[in-house]
């Protein structure tokens, strides 16, 4: 099994989620993140003083899937979350040694299906 961890633009999450559902991927965990990379920040003004915003809001989505689903999902992420503008984010593929469903104690791929 693999964990697909992807950092995306917050506004793309719903589209991604819908597309994942449509190919049968329903389980996922989301966290709020802030990121920096090539993308430029914004400028604000408070009481006449200009300030710079450098870290940008991102959403991190994690899903643990079977090895042979990885490619399909990666393509689907690129498909849903790419805007072509700097800041679209990354996908990281991690090895996972074991998965357990707490409710049942099931192991392996059954735990996430």
């Amino acid at each position: 099994m693999k964990k697909i961890e992807t950092i995306i633009r917050p506004e793309k999450f719903q589209e991604l989620r819908n597309k994942l559902s449509s190919i049968g991927i329903g389980g996922l965990t989301v966290t709020e993140a802030a990121g920096t990379g090539k993308q430029k920040g914004q400028k604000g003004v408070f009481r006449g003083t200009t300030f710079q915003i450098q870290l940008l809001p991102k959403i991190k989505v994690e899903m643990v899937v079977e090895n042979d689903q990885v490619d399909e999902i990666v393509n689907l992420i690129i498909d849903s979350c790419s805007t072509g503008k700097v800041g679209d984010g990354k996908i990281f593929i991690h090895p996972i040694e074991e998965v357990i469903r707490i409710r049942t104690g099931e192991h392996g791929i059954n735990a996430v299906l």
Binding site: E11, Q14, A34, K43, F51, I53, L55, P57, K58, I59
Partner: protein, 455 residues
């Protein structure tokens, strides 16, 4: 609707055509100036409900905010309507045996509408005290029933005893100028009784431990305290019912100084007792000072009011500790101590500090004893009536929300949504980019001048 036509007809009589004389007389002017004063008082007392709403919501958890706000709104609304329909009559109608009023329902035959308006604002105060004590666990519907009982019957009867003029406590010489007993003690005893039936919030006491359930927004609670303090100038000041230059300034002065003293003493006392100036107890201290001077604001000297206030602040802190940790009575906002313990103290303080009848001014013990009798009578009456009432309604259905609803928060369970959406709902189905203020990224950014040209 059409059945109401009789009612309408009755009320029609109430509307006199304006009789504002072409040539004003000193008598008509007296009426006018007193009117302005009493209306100002009424408006300020009305505004106290905003204060209560803010204190009660700020001192409890975010997940119950809508619920407590709705309880406050329904209280003032039901109270006004019921006082109009029945309460005013029971309170100020012709006395039946010095116990209860017997006419003036729907204000029929009542001429002084301004007095009705002023008194109507008071009623809700008494009931709203309960909403704070039962916060975060009582069913909305059950609370409404308690409000009905309190404002339609229980409070008006107390009021009749003390304020109508022919009541039995008035006959004894009981003195409660603006309502330490009538309003505050009655409300607090009602609150205590309901809370005894209701029990503490889930998670408040566990084994020997007393858990802390912090309020979610103390600043809005502090604003509420300021609003209450402001409103109290109308509560005590308006109770003179006349713009009397020899009385009003003293009333306002004692109210100001007692409260100031109570804030100082509660702040200082928490600092000594807990090594910290406890903010939420000090805010309660302000209210303690207000309740403490309410009975005696017109007959205690300025110096006396300071002493009353100083003691109110200390009683408040000890009272809240005692109820919370010894009696294990869970009163999220401290209402029972503020209005009950300090209500009793304020009532008794008249017997001690009244410049005309008080013990410390050579008046002996008689006033103090009468005050004590009044307190006991009101406590007994309120506890019994509210107790029986709650007992009866709790036979039909639980007065408490389910544990699941309590944990999820009454807002979602009873009102279907939440009080706050401080961070924006991140994602709509429309793939609309949405900013999220308060997010992590915002906080990670350092706000530093980059562009020196602007400065």
């Amino acid at each position: 609707m059409f059945k109401k036509s009789t009612l309408l007809f009755v009320l029609f009589l109430l509307i006199a055509s304006p009789v504002y004389a072409a040539t004003p007389t000193t008598e008509s002017l007296q009426l006018s100036v007193d009117l302005v004063w009493v209306m100002l008082g009424a408006f300020l007392v009305f505004f106290m409900h905003a204060g209560f709403a803010m204190v009660e919501s700020g001192f409890t958890r975010a997940k119950n905010s809508l619920n407590i706000l709705m309880k406050n709104f329904i209280t003032i609304s039901m109270a006004s309507l019921l006082f109009f329909i029945v309460g005013y009559g029971l309170m100020f109608g012709t006395s039946a045996g010095s116990i209860v009023g017997s006419d003036g329902f729907l204000l029929s035959g009542v001429e002084d509408i301004s007095f009705f308006v002023f008194q109507a604002m008071f009623v809700a105060t008494c009931a709203t005290i309960i909403s704070g004590a039962v916060a975060e666990r009582m069913k909305f519907g059950s609370y409404v029933l308690v409000v009905i009982a309190m404002t339609a019957v229980i409070y008006p009867v107390v009021g009749h005893w003390i304020w109508q003029g022919d009541g039995w406590l008035t006959a004894l010489g009981f003195s409660d100028f603006a309502g330490s007993t009538v309003v505050h003690l009655t409300g607090a005893v009602g609150a205590l009784t309901v809370v005894l039936f209701l029990g503490p919030r889930v998670g408040k006491y566990s084994g020997k431990k007393v858990n802390v359930i912090p309020g979610h927004n103390i600043p809005i609670g502090a604003l509420g305290v300021f609003i209450l303090w402001l409103g109290w100038f109308g509560f005590n000041g308006g109770s003179t019912l006349a713009a009397d230059p020899s009385l009003v300034p003293m009333v306002i002065g004692t109210t100001l100084l007692s409260t100031s003293a109570a804030l100082v003493s509660s702040a200082l006392y928490t600092k000594i007792r807990f090594k910290r100036v406890d903010a939420s107890l000090s805010l309660n201290g302000v209210l303690a000072g207000l309740v403490g001077i309410t009975a005696g604001c017109a007959e205690i000297s300025l110096g006396g009011s300071i002493i009353v206030g100083l003691l109110s602040g200390v009683f408040l802190v000890e009272g809240i500790r005692f109820l919370d940790t010894k009696l294990r009575i869970d009163d999220p906002v401290g209402a029972i101590t503020v209005h009950g313990i300090c209500g009793i103290w304020g009532t008794l303080a008249v017997g001690l500090f009244s410049t005309s009848t008080g013990l410390f001014y050579g008046g002996g013990f008689s006033q103090l004893i009468v005050q004590l009798i009044g307190v006991i009578a009101v406590v007994a009456w309120t506890m019994i009536t509210v107790g029986v009432f709650i007992f009866v309604i709790s036979r039909f259905s639980s007065i408490r929300v389910s544990e699941e609803e309590e944990i999820a928060g009454l807002d979602f369970a009873e009102h279907g949504s939440n009080a706050y959406e401080l961070k924006e709902v991140l994602l709509t189905e429309e793939n609309v980019p949405a900013s999220h203020k308060l997010g992590l990224a915002d906080r990670l950014n350092s706000l530093t001048v980059r562009d020196k040209k602007l400065s």
